[in-house]
Every structure is written in structure tokens, then in C-alpha cells.
Amino acid sequence: MMRLSRRHVLAILAAGTALVFAPEAQAQKPIKIGSFLSITGPASFLGDPEAKTLRLYVDKINKEGGILGRQLELVIYDSAGDAKQATTFARRLIEEDEVDIIIGGSTTGETMAVVPIVMEEEIPFISLAGANVIVEPVKKWVFKMPHSDRMAVEKAYEDMKKRNLTNVAIIGGSGGYDQSCRKEAHAVAPKWGIKIVADETYAPTDTDMSPQLTKIKNTPGVQAIFGCGFGAPTSITARNWSQLGMTNISFYFNHGVASQQFIDGAGGGAEGIRLPVPALLVAEQLPPGDPQREVSLNYIKAYREAYNQPVSGFGGHAYDGLHIALEAIKRAGGTDKAKVRDEIEKTTRFIGTDGIYNMSPEDHMGLSLDSFKMVEVRNNTWKLIE
């Protein structure tokens, strides 16, 4: 108690000082948004653009006058991909920073570690991580933005079925993300009439996947390969696939490789590879009537102007999360946690960079299969093929 009361005294002092110097700015408490993201570490390719996106839009909205006449205050911690740190930061956000909502958790591991805390503390939490387990079964206070890996697999299978490719080999890393994707790839295969004829693994640090691919090449009847993974190993796999002259076997990947780095890293070897991507990556190619076109183009422009870097789909998750949260706060007329939670759950036809969200008490993600766009790598860039 001693610690708390001292904090309160400090807070009152600080507030008092602020009142003296800036009476009108303190007229209303800011809306506090808390976040923990993997800004550094192995998952930094997720957390870095997410953090940049949150900062960019919180600044922007504050300059435009804030929400409900209140300014936004953003507190971000770097959990560096570590689930233990994520729980520490989640507690700090709730107990010390007293935030109104948490948007964060770049990886599934961090998200799942934090779930029990937000359930206990009853605070709305919008996760930016991918796996189904986050929202299945539905957890009262937990929502998630990105498409799940199961949807990516199903989208790819849908395309394979269209092309009559039913005998599929899987190749993926031994890391958690890859394994979760692999599990889904096995689980939904029967639903789409797909037969898994081979399943090969590589370590995340491997530098040559030719042995695994050679095994797939020599598997009788294989018509397509489905790759699970992200980062450098996927580029190497793509390059080995074309070097081994396997381009007669169609290669699909999950959306983890949806970045220009994947294409560049493969050094021309990724030509012809297909994958489902968020609309954001092919915004310019979307037909003018597509509802996601404008949202995506605006986000790309704002991000480029602020950071002089190309966008990634991951930053888009943060864009969607922040705006869904703010819309809900607007509708709730304040930051009452239970009301905000109810309003997030009622999100309908929210057009984000990841798709069109329709949440419900049964669905805390709200995206459908058609929010993914199928693309093929052609001339070192993505070509929309629908």
C-alpha cells in the first residue's frame, strides 16, 4: 500500500503542476492505449512496423483533435518476442500505467501468455498475432486482428483445387509458427480433398533445403508443394526449388512470406510461387470499386511519408487494431472497459487493411476467407491472380 500511495501522491502532484501550467489540456484525461510488441529480437519484423504504425496514427489522431475530445496516450513496451517479458509488461500496463485497452502481442506465444492476465483483470485486449488458438475457443476479453494460419492454408487449398492439384507435399521449419501452419495444413486437407503425400522439415538456421526438396521431387505423384514459414529459410527454399528444376511442381506458401524481402532473398528463384496475401500488398492492383483499396492506399501513403519505408502486412494489423479500438471507444462514449469490449464485439463492416471485419460473440476475429487475395510472384513482384 505504501508504494501505491506514494505513486498517488506523485500523480496528484504531477496533475496539479500540469493544471497550473496548462489548464485546458488537462481538462480531460487522455485515453490510454497500452501495447507490448516484439520490436527487437527474432520477431522484430512483426513488432517494428506494428510499433511504427501505432505511433504514426496516435500522433495523427492527436493532431486532428483526438477522440471524443480527449487526446490519446500511447505506452509501448518492447517484449522482444519473449513470452515472460510480455506478461511482465502486460501487468505493468494494467497496474502501473492504468491503460484503457491493450493492443499488442506480435507473436502467438506472447499473446497466449498474456491472455490469463487480461481475463483476470477484465481489460479489452486486441492481439496482433496469427494462430487460431487465440480466439478459439472465444475468450471474453480477447480479440485478434490478422487472418489465422488456417485461413491461409484454406485459401491456398482453394486455389489448388481450382487447378486440380490434389497431391500435396508440405515443407516447413521446426519453429512454432511453421509448426502451427503445418498442423492446420494437415487438419483441413480432407475438407478440400487434398492428400498430403510428403512432409519435410528444416531447422530455422538451415542454409540449404535441397535434400528435403529432393525427397519431395522423388515422391511419386506429388503435384504441389505447400510451404510453411517466414524469413530467410523460405527464400532459400524457393531458390533451391527453382535450382533443382522443380518448377513443374507448383509451389504455394502461407502468408508469412508476404514481403519483398522474400522475393529479393530468393534471387529470382521465387518466380511462379503463389500465396495468399492481405489486400494491402496488392492495393494498387485492386479494382477501383474494391472497398479495401482506399483504406490500404491511404495507409501505404501515410507510412511511406512518415518512415520512408515500404509497408508490410504486419503494420496493417496494428492499423486495424487501433482503429477498431477507437471506433469502439467512440461508440461506447468513453473508456468504460466492459462497454468498450461489448462495442469491439459488435464491430461490423469495419474496412481495414486486412479485410472487412464482422465480429460477433462467436467470432472474435471477424475476417472471412475472401479477405485474402491470391497472388503469384511475377517479375519479382506480386501479381493479383483473381
Binding site: 527487437t40 527474432p42 522484430s44 519484423f45 517494428d48 521446426s174 519435410e200 522439415t201 528444416y202 531447422a203 538456421t205 542454409t207 540449404d208 535441397s210 535434400p211 528435403q212 529432393t214 525427397k215 522423388n218 524469413g231 530467410a232 527464400s235 532459400i236 531458390r239 535450382q243 533443382l244 528444376g245 524481402q261 529479393d264 532473398g265 534471387g267 529470382g268 528463384g269
Partner: protein, 290 residues
């Protein structure tokens, strides 16, 4: 048969990479019995440096030596600022210092050059060479060629130059070396500069295959170290043999056993070898250091 050949070629490619990185450990080890855990970071700096110099518009032929010079400078600075002040400390302390240095270098690159992965184009194109139905990456030939040159160069350096002999003498008995007039401090400085340069060369030659990233040094350093241990620390030929053996075992295990357990198979074999031959396949026997 084509399948076996493909596994073999893949194994040799990967093994040559491990070997080239593993060689870098031998020089500093020979000079001081310190295992330099920042060796992987020298490798990473070589690759990343070349990527960024080329992005700045320099051709490969200029970017490569320039990057090597930069990394040599980093190696010298590391020795001067971190290792030399602690030269009277135990070997374990020095090893810990190199671990600290590796974390520092990695962090500095992460902050300044970013977290993305990059690729250098293959030196003589990216089209593979087909041998009996199996594909060999052209870049592998560059790596194997460099391996031969470096091993021969190191052998000549340690056996036939005054400086090389002085390095070996220092490693055997520092005080005796000092008594016969060897400047012990310069020896360590030279060895850090040399192995930094060698690491950088390895990083540049392997970047078209492994890709490069701020943290690639952890993996390459570890596998290179495993190769050096397997072959016998301090022996150039041993590092090469260790690397190739490790690479081929991994490829064969992935091809014929299970790709999920290939690393486990490789490590079991390394442990087995070290159990019966503690100083590696070609290492000097431990008894000589009394």
C-alpha cells in the same frame, strides 16, 4: 543415384560454408587458446558490409576488399579495447569478453543497418550446374576454391613465416616466447586482425547461399565452431574435414533418415567422435601441453 549425388553435393556445399567459418576460429585459438565467440559476428559483418557498400553503388570487386578492411579494423579495435586490457586474465575470462563483444556487435548492426535479411548475387550467376541429375550451386565452387587457398595459406603462414611461427610459439609458452624476443602483444593483435579478415571473407562468399542478416553470425559461428571442434581446434585441415563431414552428415540424415531429426543425428555423431577422440579428428593431442 541422382538422389544420393544431390544429397552429397548439398552436404558439401553446406559443409564448405561451415568449414570456411570454422577456419576463422583456428588463428586466434592458435595464438592464445581463446575461442573467439565473436567470430560469427566477423562473418556477419563481412556479408552485411558488402551488401550495404553495394547498395551504395560500389561494384562487388570494390565493395568486397573494402568490407574486409572494415572488418579487420573492427577486429583490431576489439583486440585493443576489450581483449588487451584483460590480457593477464584467464582464458575463460577472455572467452567471456568475446561473447560480450559478439552481443555488442550484433546489437550495433541491428540498430544501424536494420533487421532485414539481404542477399548478394552469386559471383558467377545463380544458374546451378547440373551433374548427373543433381544440381550444384556455382557459388559452392567459389567457397571450395577459397577453402583450398585459405588452408594452404594458413599452413604456409604457420610453418614458413616468422610471424606464423611466433604465433605458434606464443600459444605454446607465452613467457618463453617473450624471452626469445617475440612481441607477445603484437601477436594477439595480428591474430585478431587476420581472423577478422578471414571471417569477413567467409561472410561475403557465403552470403549468396545463406543470405545475411544481423544475427546470422550466431548460427554460422555455432556450426563453424562445431566443425572446428569435430576436426580438431587449431588445425586448418581439421576445420575443413570437420565442416565437410558435418555438412554431409546433415544432408544424408535429412535425405535418408528424417529431416526433422537431422540436427540431432549430426550432434550425436559429433558427441560420439569427441568421446573417443577428445581433440577431434585431426587435432593435436592434448598431452603436449604439460
Amino acid at each position: 543415384m541422382a538422389e544420393f549425388l544431390q544429397f552429397l553435393l548439398s552436404g558439401i556445399t553446406v559443409g564448405a560454408i561451415y568449414a570456411l567459418v570454422g577456419l576463422g576460429f583456428s588463428i586466434i585459438y592458435n595464438a592464445s587458446h581463446v575461442i573467439n565467440f565473436a567470430q560469427g559476428e566477423f562473418v556477419m559483418l563481412g556479408g552485411m558490409g558488402t551488401v550495404f557498400l553495394m547498395a551504395a553503388g560500389l561494384p562487388l570487386i570494390v565493395a568486397m576488399p573494402l568490407a574486409i578492411c572494415v572488418v579487420v579494423a573492427v577486429g583490431l579495435i576489439l583486440e585493443k579495447l576489450a581483449v588487451e586490457p584483460a590480457r593477464d586474465a584467464t582464458v575463460v575470462t577472455l572467452i567471456i569478453i568475446t561473447i560480450g563483444a559478439s552481443i555488442f556487435i550484433r546489437g550495433a548492426v541491428e540498430v544501424t543497418l536494420g533487421k532485414d535479411f539481404h542477399r548478394l548475387p552469386g559471383f558467377s550467376g545463380d544458374e546451378p550446374i547440373l551433374i548427373g541429375g543433381a544440381a550444384l550451386q556455382r557459388q559452392s565452387l567459389w567457397i571450395i576454391g577459397a577453402l583450398i587457398v585459405v588452408v594452404a595459406g594458413l599452413k604456409w603462414f604457420f610453418d614458413h613465416t616468422r610471424l606464423g611461427k611466433a604465433v605458434l610459439a606464443t600459444s605454446h609458452n607465452r613467457i618463453a616466447a617473450q624471452l626469445v624476443g617475440i612481441e607477445v602483444r603484437t601477436i594477439l593483435l595480428v591474430s585478431f586482425g587476420l581472423s577478422a579478415g578471414l571471417g569477413a571473407l567467409a561472410g561475403i562468399l557465403t552470403a549468396p547461399i545463406t543470405l545475411t542478416k544481423y544475427d546470422i553470425g550466431i548460427m554460422l559461428g555455432l556450426k563453424g565452431f562445431a566443425a572446428a571442434i569435430l576436426g580438431g581446434l587449431g588445425s586448418g585441415f581439421g576445420a575443413v574435414a570437420g565442416g565437410i563431414v558435418l555438412g554431409v552428415i546433415e544432408a544424408m540424415a535429412a535425405g535418408y533418415v528424417s529431416s526433422a531429426y537431422k540436427d540431432a543425428v549430426a550432434f550425436v555423431i559429433i558427441l560420439g567422435v569427441l568421446f573417443f577422440m577428445p581433440s577431434g579428428l585431426f587435432g593435436a593431442k592434448g598431452a603436449e601441453r604439460v
